[in-house]
Amino acid sequence: MRIRRLAFVAAALGATWAAAWGASAARAAETHVAVAANFTEAAREIAVAFKAGTGHDAVLSFGASGQFYAQIVQAAPFEVFLSADDERPRKLAEEGLGVASQRFTYAIGKLVLWSRSAGLVTGEETLREAKFDKLSIANPVGAPYGAAAIETMKKLGLHDALKPKIVEGASIAQAFQFVETGNAEVGLVALAQIVGKQGSRWLVPQSLYAPIRQDAILLKRGEGNPAALAFVAFLKGPQARAIVEKYGYALDGAP
């Protein structure tokens, strides 16, 4: 008697759950997007706007671009990839994992010299005088912002002098963390990271480093998913571009 009643309750629960699941699946499609860590905040806002505009869900994963690349090669279930560079999307297209025609620059990163102390960073001379103990940058081989930081120092002829003071974060997020916690007094970080932050800054002129093109690519896995296609289209549209700019990035083709 008791067993039968239990079986009935279990069946009822199962049916309810299945109905709920089926309803949500039918309402809107979703797409899995891998997002370079530096683009985290902007991507979140874009996903909200995307949902409002299309009804689709963009499920975002944040991390280092190199790691995402390795995971995508190993068949990770991402459908769109917003890289921190242009190199990896290009390679994915070549390797047939990405759709070559759906590769584009969604943002151009801007490098900034930042300190959380007011007045410490005044301009180029801050790097020249080097009155600090540690300069934080992102890993130059792995992260485009790191490469841009090295390039800037070389252009200024300061690389050798500054080298002993450099500490590397594994990602631009970590490089930023070193400065934010005060362990490094200054850092060459992404402008996007310090939007709304206190302290002192110097926006490194674009002439000192090659543009940090952040490319997105539609992955082969997402080709058949309308939500993935919609997200790519949305990212190219004016609403998304406005958000990108707001977060301190330049746009492709913009001055």
Binding site: G66, I166, V167, G182, N183
Partner: protein, 228 residues
Amino acid sequence: MQGLSPDVWIAVRLTLELALLTTALLLLLGTPLAWWLARSRVRWKEGVAAVVAMPLVLPPTVLGFYLLIALGPDGPGGAIAGLWGARTLAFSFAGLVIGSIVYSLPFVVQPIRNAFEAMGERPLEVAATLRASPAQAFWRVALPLARPGLITGAVLGFAHTVGEFGVVLMIGGAVPGKTKVLSVAIYDYVETSRWREAGLLSAGMVVFSFVVILATILLGRRAARAGS
């Protein structure tokens, strides 16, 4: 292993130095702590035991983040670094040692505490009736009898420090020869798609871990046999 760049070997050497120094300090620090945990009758000691065990469950990034703050200019680490004119203990070998000690502490303390508890009260009572002071009883009886636990603790502490990644990544700053240890180097290779180096070093780590774990098991069995 020709073809591996010299910075790989720098990283290997640094890793071994870090693990050896950390293990030595952990034994020095962990043994009295384990002794106290095993012998003290105060109630709040299990609270201390829980704090010691926290790194087992805390994500390394959480630990790393707290360490980054603690070692930095706003934390006690900065005050200590100030003694020799530095601002922070992060990005330094000393900072890595501190981080590794915190991170690997439970792996050293737990086996030693178990060994101290397993021997029971009796050997110490015998020592006392043979006129050994508590300190002499510790050195001449408790420590030698806890040897299997000390060895297990040392092996695990060493291995765990070698394999440590998250914490090092967060407080190290990847300064070659100072804080860029093996696991960070592997991460870099993965990050830059240098699969060959990453693969070789990873395989090395796998073999190393296997040897360490096997050695620990064998040591444990030998100790169990000797004890029976």
